[in-house]
């Protein structure tokens, strides 16, 4: 079974190829089912590999299947080979598992869309790329998947390409990711120069050899990879693309921009943990601080968002920050743990929000929602489960993973812990805010547009601000302002009448919600802290981490205390939200600057559009004026001197004679200098 690991990415690839050729002919829903089948098949194989791996001895749970040599050049050689080990299979399991669910969901969600089959082409390609990223046995193959998922992300964000905002968002995602990829690439150069290989596993793999690295080299590699991870996993300062990425169809947001792709940065850092361990101590600390700062930063922004998906997007950024906090604190298991649980509940909530959007007839503004729990019961219940999970309410999955991260953070530095805790509080607050605005309170939908703003005011949101001014790029904002929401403006989407009576989604969509809700409840069981027997994930991942996991030295009492404090913080956040948004006892404080994301993005946009563009244009003008100008200048100079010389050719025969005489005199003068006496 282990030798079949190559089949895991191969199935979605086959699905992709078939759909590419015959997707249009298959049409709806055939294409969707085919894609789902490919993904599901992949999941089945992954489970098989997982079981086979379980059957292996604890320290032999690493298996490589090499297909062919990809890039051999001199001493440099990269194979196309897949590595099945606990870490990669963990990832592969939830990628294929959640991926399959989202495929299923998409069949319902994309119903009636003109690009139905195209959508599944991209989805399968994405699953393939993601699996290559996860299973690849070397940095370069990971990079292949890395760029592949980025490209798919680009395709999918700009899926409804006729809207400029979507196209811009897709482009932005790609380019921001590329900035990170620069770090990844340079990291590979350094690695190859130092170790002569890019392969992970094996005796001469970089993981085995990592302890030979000089700390400075290891630090360089680790931080450069972290730059890459920042891009992909939307950490400060490269997170700007993720909120915009919500322009893609909602299943995409769930799959790519919440559950799988964005966690690949965390995966990468966990994968190269020996290198991180070899670096200077300040390197992990830096990562932890970047992570926690991102977590807090994004959480503050999420507090003031009004777009249902935007809240989730910033929440994702924030949760990814947690994961990096874990990585930086040496809590790889906790990072992976949180990654998995987060995948469950965040996918759940995104799909839930998709269901809401779907049911609302493509409405995304939470100010126009409310009271939906009665009309969309399944969606509401599952969403609420997700909410409880992310808010850190025990015994939901999120509580366990977040708690573990905070524990390790506390051990590393109480300051980290404090910030993390504050973030947890905020998280609980804004998630509650979202739930209350969407599923509880008054029904603010179904009114005429002019009335809507009044209702918005009634909902406690400061009126007067443009509905769509959510701190996006100006293009995006413009499109929102124009009345259409940036996500689904395809007329063919099947929901002609906007603001029609909200309704529950079809079973294809609700089924995945239910499954994910279940996982969100029990997900914590993967790694319960009570006894070491229950550290399932930790023991499972142990061979990969090779003792690089931080050994914490915290008394049990402290542990419990920390957990209690965390729960209290979560509850405080919820309570505050209840007070503000449900009972409306306190006027909401949603500063404009938060709604605009601390104007971080707009500053970048302003810079890129202002001085940045001016700089580019200056270079372009330099090319035209100076470089090409010099070329044409030489030409003009030549012709100019030709014109000047022409004046000598007066046409007067006597002046010609003079010229001739001058020549004679010159020759005589020259020759007379050569006279020998």
């Amino acid at each position: 079974m282990l030798d079949l690991v190559w089949l895991i990415p191969a199935l979605p690839l086959a699905g992709f190829l078939i759909l590419l050729v015959a997707g249009r002919r298959l049409g709806e829903p055939g294409a969707g089912w085919l894609a789902t089948a490919a993904s599901a098949g992949s999941f089945v194989v992954t489970v098989g590999v997982f079981l086979a791996l379980l059957g292996e001895d604890h320290h032999h749970r690493s298996h490589v299947v090499t297909l062919f040599e990809w890039l051999p050049a001199g001493g440099f050689s990269v194979d196309v080979g897949f590595l099945a080990d606990p870490l990669s299979i963990t990832m592969a399991l939830f990628v294929t598992g959640i991926g399959t669910l989202i495929h299923l969901y998409s069949i319902g969600y994309m119903h009636g869309d003109a690009g139905f089959s195209r959508f599944f082409v991209y989805l399968n390609l994405f699953i393939f790329s993601m699996l290559v990223l996860v299973l690849g046995d070397n940095l370069l193959l990971t990079f292949l998947g890395w760029e592949g998922v980025g490209t798919c992300s680009y395709f999918l964000i700009s899926f409804w390409f006729t809207k400029d905002a979507n196209a811009s968002a897709g482009k932005k995602a790609f380019i921001t990711n590329r900035i990170g990829d620069w770090g990844f690439m340079v990291a590979m150069f350094v690695t190859f120069a130092a170790l002569g290989t890019l392969a992970y596993s094996g005796e001469n793999g970089i993981l085995e050899q990592a302890h030979d690295l000089a700390p400075v080299t290891a630090t360089a590699i680790a931080l450069l990879l972290f730059v890459g991870a920042c891009g992909k996993s939307a950490q400060l300062p490269l997170f700007v693309w993720l909120p915009d990425a919500m322009a893609g169809p909602t299943p995409v947001s769930a799959l790519i921009h919440a559950a799988t792709m964005v966690t690949s940065g965390v995966y990468l850092m966990a994968r190269v943990n020996p290198i991180l361990a070899q670096s200077y101590d300040w390197a992990p600390t830096l990562i932890a601080w970047v992570g926690v700062a991102t977590a807090l930063f994004a959480a503050t922004i999420a507090v003031a968002q009004t777009d249902i998906k935007k809240v989730l997007a910033y929440s994702t950024v924030s949760q990814l920050g947690y994961m990096f906090l874990a990585v930086g604190s040496g809590a790889y298991v906790a990072a992976v743990f949180h990654m998995v649980t987060h995948a469950f509940f965040k996918a759940l909530m995104f799909l839930g929000s998709g269901s809401v959007i779907h049911g609302m007839g493509d409405e995304q503004d939470m100010r126009r929602m409310g009271g939906l729990r009665k009309l969309m019961p399944i969606t509401a219940v599952t969403f609420i489960i997700g909410w409880l999970a992310i808010a850190g309410v025990p015994p939901f999955a999120g509580f366990w993973s977040k708690d573990e991260i905070l524990l390790y953070a506390y051990d590393k530095s109480p300051a980290l812990w404090a910030v993390g805790l504050l973030t947890a509080l905020l998280t609980a607050f804004y998630m509650s805010r979202q739930v209350f605005m969407v599923f509880f309170g008054d029904e603010r939908w179904g009114h005429a547009d002019d009335a809507a703003s009044a209702d918005v005011a009634a909902a406690g949101v400061p009126a007067g601000e443009p509905a769509g001014d959510t701190g996006l790029t100006s293009e995006h904002a413009a499109s929102v302002e124009s009345g259409a929401d940036p996500v689904s403006q395809e007329p063919a989407h099947g929901h002609e009448g906007a603001h029609a009576q909200p309704h529950e989604s079809p079973w294809l969509m609700t089924l995945p919600l239910v499954v994910l809700a279940g996982l969100s409840i029990v997900g914590g069981g993967l790694n319960l802290p009570f006894t070491s027997d229950l550290h399932l994930l930790e023991r499972w991942l142990e061979p990969v981490l090779e003792g690089n996991e931080r050994v914490i030295d915290v008394a049990t009492g402290t542990k419990v205390g920390l957990a209690v404090v965390a729960v209290i913080a979560g509850l405080l956040g919820i309570a505050a939200a209840v007070a503000v948004y449900l009972q409306k006892r306190v006027k909401p404080v949603e500063p404009q600057i938060l709604a605009e994301g601390w104007r971080f993005d707009s500053s970048i946009t302003a810079f890129a559009g202002g001085p940045g563009r001016a700089g580019f244009e200056a270079v372009s003008a330099f090319d035209k004026q100076v470089v090409d100008g010099a070329v044409n200048g030489v030409a003009h100079l030549t012709r100019g001197s030709g014109r000047g010389l022409r004046l000598v050719q007066t046409g007067f025969v006597r002046s010609y004679a003079l010229g001739l005489t001058v020549g004679v005199v010159a020759l005589l003068a020259y020759f007379l200098t050569r006279v020998s006496f």
Binding site: T650, F652, V653, R654, A657, T661
Partner: protein, 105 residues
Amino acid sequence: MLAIAEVTPAWYLVLGSLLFTIGAVGLRVRRNPLVMFMCVELMLNAVTLTFVTFSRMLEDVHGQTVVVFVLVVAAAEVVVGLGIMVALLRKEPEATADDLTVLKG
């Protein structure tokens, strides 16, 4: 004084060069094509004088024979030159050398 005034072959050479220069300058300053021809003739004759002088100095007779050739050539040149000139003047009777400036640049 007489010794100084004695006419050596060098005098003829100097005279020849002077005549040559006069011819060259004349061609440069005169605008009448016919006069310009005569200047050329003057130059040729100056050279002839030089030849003869060298012939005398070198006590070699061959320099003098050259004169015959030069005269013939000069005559041929004059014939052709005048022919061209006449053809031109027939078209533009008052033409001077400076009027021939259609072709330039």
